[in-house]
Amino acid sequence: MSEGLISARQLLLIAAIVRMGSMLIILPVVHYGGAPRDSWIAAIISTVASCLVAWLSAGVAMAFPKKSLGHIANAVLGRIAGTVATFTVALSQYVLCLARIRTMSLVIITQFMQRTPGWALALPVLLIALYGAVCGPDTMGRAAEIIFTALAIIVVGGCILVYASRAAPVAGLKPILANGLKPVLVASISPTFLGAVTGSIALSFGRFTKEPTRVGKSIMVSLMFTGVILVVVTIIVLTTLGPKQAQESITPLLSVAGSVHVSTVIERADLLLLAAWILGVTFDVTVLLLSASILIGDSLNLPYKTVAIALFLVGAIPVSHRATDVFMIGPFQSPEVTGPWTLAVFVGVIGLVYVATLIKKKGGHGR
């Protein structure tokens, strides 16, 4: 079971859920940047940018099939530099995993269940993430199939509901680019970061894929597919809430879902959306935890299951520390933070590994 493999299609689904889990409720693309009305353009730009950044990760993964970044970095950069490189990527994923758990429990508690303490949601989520991580990548692959189907049904159903209800579009998308391109570019930084992290799971899951040459294609297709969904969701949010409201709201899609009203049958749909989101985010968190464990494990030559347990124990405290402030979400995903982060880790470090890989390969074949 620990050496089970996943197919390229399953990798696609895993990456798609990881991406969707992050962007369904909190839409950084609308939240940041000065021009919320053009955030759908920012969504498109960020999709393209994510593909580019993710290509670096996929390239590294495909250059050394059946090996993860842990092995590769050690091979091309030497043990110490390699370990450091792997750790930066792994820790990025791990920190994002914990941050997401915390965000999710914060959102749910502050919006719906005010008296529940933060740890009551965060710890079970982390525990289930551990369970999934310990089950291994092939379990994740099969679970991805179910969850993706469920999410797809809900997303499509939700879009239909929004248009069927009286949440008719009142605001429009025009005028386009009234404030110029710069705010749009700023707004696209955070989603690119999230896309880059999604792409980086190729570095760990690539090892377990049956068809290593299709890793890149899977990641690209999933990023583009979820990019389309992001654009659609952004447009829905903008036209239903208006740009100003969408920008101010922490969870714009929940607000939209809360206004869905189809006669007396469905008076509001936000909790259903929430339920679906929990499935997606918890899976996403599991994948990140597993990915980080694989990277660290391979780098230090430990079995990833042990690493996962260790990461769980380490992460239990920061994730469940008394949740007081929902505004924490803001600084963490702002372009000022995610921009340099993306450049440093996902472009810089992985780019370095990529270049080193190319050199090594050429050196091996050349002359």
Partner: protein
């Protein structure tokens, strides 16, 4: 009682001694029959035919063995009594017993005893330290009848019986190919049950068969009466509520599954066959799916899947929503629920929990009710009990409706053994829904999804929605599309990918060309 060592002793040439040992070994079993006879005219030798009266068809034994040995024109074995000339006993005797079907040679007491116990006949001849076993077993059995656990409206109406030979015959009738491999195992220290492992040689993957055989051979237990008993012994994850092997009483199902690459394990004295490996979507399959029109099958399968999910999740969902998420409920419904909830003494989660348990008890009791009392007690139990509980104000009617519906939805899922999952999982879900509301329930669902996704049996994953390959497996398993759309590949078998050739295009006979 003779010790183990004695059993392994070789037979002695002295017939009387052998007989004594054997009789002592059987205690004073009243059905042990020792028929001594003389073979040969010129130099008659003493021989004995030993069998268990209760296990054999006495008439057959007498006719085909005893009489055949006695009536002869030649000596069976030339030479005086007492001589230990080597002689091909098997060949000689088999020539002499044309009516006997199967003969085998035995050397030790243990073999003789096992043969007799199995229901075969042992033939011992004075002066020879070997014995012959003749097959003659005819244990009491019944004719094939309706399969009680899996009756269907369409299709063959016959089920396995307790005789393994009959069962093998039924399968052979449906798979008339020499590629049907039937391997014999004897399991159980006390029961020494005949077990057969079946698979299609040209389809079932070799590694899986080898692994299963290895596991079966390693079983070390006292009695094996039913495949269900060995299930636990060969399962990888015995604590999982999801069952990875399937028990069936129907030969047509068995044949169909064998054709798809599964393996079947038949156990003597049980009318159930165990089919391995089984997958999640077997939950919603019935035998009729193959016999009905594919469109109805599609609809019914979807319905069963929905029923399965309802049976597990309905009550926890109701409790979670009503207690935590009032905003989600339309106002008129909420008012009704609130009004009926007033005055109920216990909080809703506890009430739900107890109601669930009570209904489980009623369900269990219903299984064991004698047929005469069945309808009366169920009416009394369900209606009167439920109605009184509502009127007394112990239980809110909304909850009763949901719980009853969930229980009945569970019956829509074929085969009782599949109920285990939902019966166990309801309670953790209820707990999560009560404590953390809908988010908690979703976390539970996710944990179960992980669990299902992680199950594997004999290397085959329990849950596969989209097979690696181009054809969406889900369509096949779930929707059972009409014949043109149905994929032709076998899910399990790696050899012989296509189970069906291309369809012939129908032609209108009058027109002479395609319609």
């Amino acid at each position: 009682m003779i010790t183990e060592n004695a059993r392994e002793r070789l037979l002695s040439p002295d017939l009387a001694c052998n007989l004594e040992v054997i009789k002592a070994e059987f205690g004073n079993a009243p059905d042990l029959s020792v028929r001594e006879l003389l073979t040969g005219e010129t130099q008659p030798r003493k021989a004995a035919v030993i069998f268990l009266k209760s296990m054999v068809s006495v008439e057959t034994v007498i006719r085909s063995v005893v009489q055949a040995l006695t009536i002869e024109s030649e000596d069976l074995i030339p030479g005086d009594s007492g001589s230990s000339k080597t002689v091909d006993l098997l060949k000689t005797v088999s020539l002499r017993l044309p009516a006997a079907s199967e003969l085998h040679l035995m050397h030790t007491f243990e073999e003789v005893i096992n043969t007799i116990v199995k229901g075969d006949t042992a033939v011992l001849i004075d002066g020879i330290s070997e014995a012959i076993g003749v097959e003659a077993a005819h244990p009491p059995t019944r004719a094939p009848e309706l399969p009680t656990s899996e009756s269907t409206v369409l299709g063959p109406q016959v089920g396995f019986t307790e005789s393994i030979d009959t069962n093998i015959a039924m399968i052979r009738t449906r798979l008339r190919t020499a590629d049907l491999a039937i391997e014999r195992l004897v399991l159980g220290r006390q029961s020494r049950t005949e077990v057969r492992l079946l698979y299609l040689r040209n389809i079932a993957p070799k590694e899986i068969v080898d692994e299963l055989r290895r596991r079966l051979q390693n079983i070390d237990t006292d009695i094996v009466l039913d495949p269900g008993m060995i299930r636990d012994l060969i399962a990888e994850r015995p604590y999982s509520p999801f069952i990875v092997s399937r028990l069936t009483e129907r030969p047509d199902t068995t044949a169909a599954k064998l054709n798809l690459g599964s393996m079947a394990v038949l156990v003597d004295s049980s009318p159930f066959a165990m089919l391995l490996p089984s997958q999640f979507f077997a939950l919603i399959e019935t035998a009729e799916d193959y016999y009905m029109q594919s469109l109805s099958t599609t609809a019914l399968r979807l319905l069963r899947l929905v029923a399965y999910m309802i049976s597990t999740l309905a009550t926890p969902f109701y409790v979670a929503v009503v207690n935590y998420h009032h905003e989600l409920v339309p106002l008129p419904l909420l008012l009704n629920v609130a009004a009926t909830q007033e005055g109920v003494p216990l909080p809703l989660p506890i009430t739900a929990f107890f109601t669930d348990i009570v209904l489980d008890i009623v369900r269990e009791a219903g299984v064991r009710l004698p047929k005469q009392f069945g309808p009366a007690v169920s009416i009394v139990g369900a209606l009167v009990l439920g109605q009184s509980a509502i009127q007394a104000g112990f239980v809110p009617p909304g909850l009763i409706i949901v719980v009853m519906f969930a229980t009945i939805a569970a019956f829509a899922v074929p085969r009782a053994e599949n109920a285990l999952a939902y019966r166990l999982l309801r309670f953790p879900f209820l707990l999560l829904g009560s404590v953390l509301g809908l988010p908690g329930l979703m976390l539970g669902v996710l944990a179960v999804i992980y669990h299902i996704a992680s199950l594997k049996t004999l290397g085959v994953p329990y849950f596969q929605m989209y097979t690696p390959g181009n054809v969406p497996r889900l369509l096949r398993k779930l929707l059972f599309a009409p014949a043109e759309l149905r994929p032709r590949t076998r899910p399990l078998g790696h050899k012989n990918r296509f189970s069906r050739g291309p369809l012939p295009k129908p032609r209108d006979p009058k027109e002479g060309r395609e319609p």
